[in-house]
């Protein structure tokens, strides 16, 4: 099964790491990328522009039922959980999960349930253990798990926690993560029918297919 979605979770030190990873993806990268970074509640628009300055992909702040498009980068707003559905994103103001809203676990788990083995999950620098359970679920559903090397991460706690729950995740330094993602995508497409076919789209912009 070819990969169709990338999800990234990070916290402390995440801005720098996100710039490197999004900046390292090729301009023609054609999977949607959904990002949760823990941050202060007044900083929404700022984060989008700070990331946009470093990537050729288009960065969006997630709103109610934002549709997923190829090559779009979707950033979780502060104070909302993000739930991934096939082809679109759903927001929720329900209570924080383990003190976090947005919660990386919540986003990753919903991605795993909606996209299953077509998901690539990436955990990077951070000072708490959010995201580890979500990455475990992505791996359990047959998706790919990538963890930033704790040895070089700005804060090792989040990557280390992820590796504890997903010991066989691929480990890479932050600058090697974009190439690793691209390699996984290309390889999965070769294995499943040659050309990098994009998933068919319905009229309403959502992706066809069952989780």
């Amino acid at each position: 099964m070819a990969y169709e979605l990338v999800v990234i979770g990070t916290s402390w030190g995440g801005l720098h790491a996100l710039r490197r990873v999004l900046g390292g993806l090729p301009a023609n990268f054609d999977l949607p990328v959904v990002v949760v970074q823990h941050r202060h509640r007044d900083s929404d628009h700022l984060l989008v522009s700070l990331l946009q300055d470093h990537t050729a992909l288009t960065v969006h702040e997630i709103e109610d039922k934002t549709p997923l498009a190829p090559g779009g980068v979707y950033v979780a707003p502060a104070e909302y959980h993000v739930l991934v559905e096939v082809g679109q994103l759903q927001l929720s103001t329900e209570e924080p999960v383990r003190f976090s809203r947005p919660s990386i676990d919540v986003m990753f788990e919903s991605a795993a349930d909606a996209y299953g083995a077509r998901t690539i999950g990436v955990i990077m620098t951070g000072a708490n253990d959010d995201g580890a359970r979500g990455l475990r679920r992505i791996a359990d559903r047959g998706g790919a798990a990538i963890v930033e090397d704790p040895a070089t991460a700005e804060s090792a706690i989040m990557p280390a926690a992820a590796l504890k729950l997903v010991p066989d995740a691929r480990v890479a330094a932050v600058d090697a993560i974009p190439a690793l993602i691209t390699k996984l995508v290309v390889k999965s497409r070769k294995a499943h029918g040659g050309r990098p076919a994009l998933p068919a789209r319905k009229d309403d912009g959502s992706l066809r297919g069952t989780p």
Binding site: D64, Y80, R98, E109, D113, R137
Partner: protein, 282 residues
């Protein structure tokens, strides 16, 4: 700490979706609450939260409990409606309301406000305080509605957790509050009891946005972070209800991540602020 609400890994997702559809159909047919057009991923999380709390194995077993024990239904109902709110939530919204909407309201002899999906009432008290400080509360009537009678009872009581007053005070200041926030409540029963004079102009009542009709004409409708839980078809239906319930040049206030972008009424409103404040213009 609550468990993360999610189904077991082995659960077949297509079967699960069928079971959820059957559960929502059963709730509608038996109790009249219509959750069938709620956004799937969030209602699924809420359902699993209840399944785990009741220590049940699957969606079908919850359906059995819900149909035969109204108390389980009541607990599920509380889970299904998200009752996370706060006073002056998004202070920027209230500041914009004060600066851009209040001058319009001054021109009316009488002001009717509908707060749809008011939950435990924090934002209703916020608005009542704002109108009071602007000298408008006396000629206002606020209709605060929610699907859920339990949260409305809390709203009527006007007692909110004391430990949140510091946060609310900060919000109140950011929202452009003109006095000391502590003037509006007294510490009582381990909570902050808000001045009952604020609710002399408020009517709390049960109303279901999905199945009930309009009940009046309003100058202002506030519905914040309610529509995000609805699917597009239900959102369209509710937008029609709001449009029909607003006077010409009436104001519609939505949540920070909501918009009229994909609604059939997009062209009937103009956005009058960088916050989600719209004015009905045609």
């Amino acid at each position: 700490m609550s468990k993360v609400a999610q189904p077991p890994l082995a659960y077949d997702t297509e079967l699960e979706q069928l079971e959820i559809e059957l559960l929502l159909e059963a709730i509608f047919r038996h109790y009249g609450f219509d959750f069938r057009s709620y956004a799937f991923s969030s209602i699924r999380r809420r359902i699993w939260k209840r399944i785990n709390a009741e220590e049940l194995p699957n969606v079908t077993s919850l359906q059995e409990r819900v149909l035969h024990d109204p108390q389980v239904m009541e607990r599920l109902l509380l889970d299904l409606s998200i009752n996370v709110t706060s006073m002056y939530r998004d202070p920027g919204f209230y500041r914009a309301f004060r600066e851009q909407v209040v001058p319009l309201l001054r021109t009316y002899p009488f002001i009717r406000v509908w707060h749809a999906g008011c939950s435990t009432g924090e934002e209703v008290y916020s608005m009542a305080i704002l109108l009071e400080e602007e000298g408008l509360l006396g000629k206002s009537r606020l209709y605060a509605t929610d699907i859920n009678e339990v949260v409305l009872q809390q709203a009527r009581a006007g007692i909110f957790p004391l430990e949140r007053m510091q946060e609310y005070t900060e919000n109140y200041i950011k929202a452009g509050g003109k006095r000391a926030f502590s003037e509006y409540y007294v510490a009582k029963y381990d909570g902050a009891l808000f001045n009952p004079s604020l609710t002399e102009h408020v009517v709390f009542s049960q109303h279901n946005l999905v199945t009930d009709r309009s009940f009046s004409e309003f100058n202002v409708i506030l519905c914040r972070n309610v529509l995000i839980y609805f699917d597009r078809s239900l959102q369209a239906k509710v937008h029609r209800l709001f449009y029909d319930s607003l006077v010409n040049f009436g104001i519609l206030g939505l949540g920070g991540k909501e918009s009229l972008k994909f609604s059939q009424y997009e062209d009937c409103y103009e956005q009058i602020s960088s916050e989600k404040i719209y004015r009905k213009v045609r």
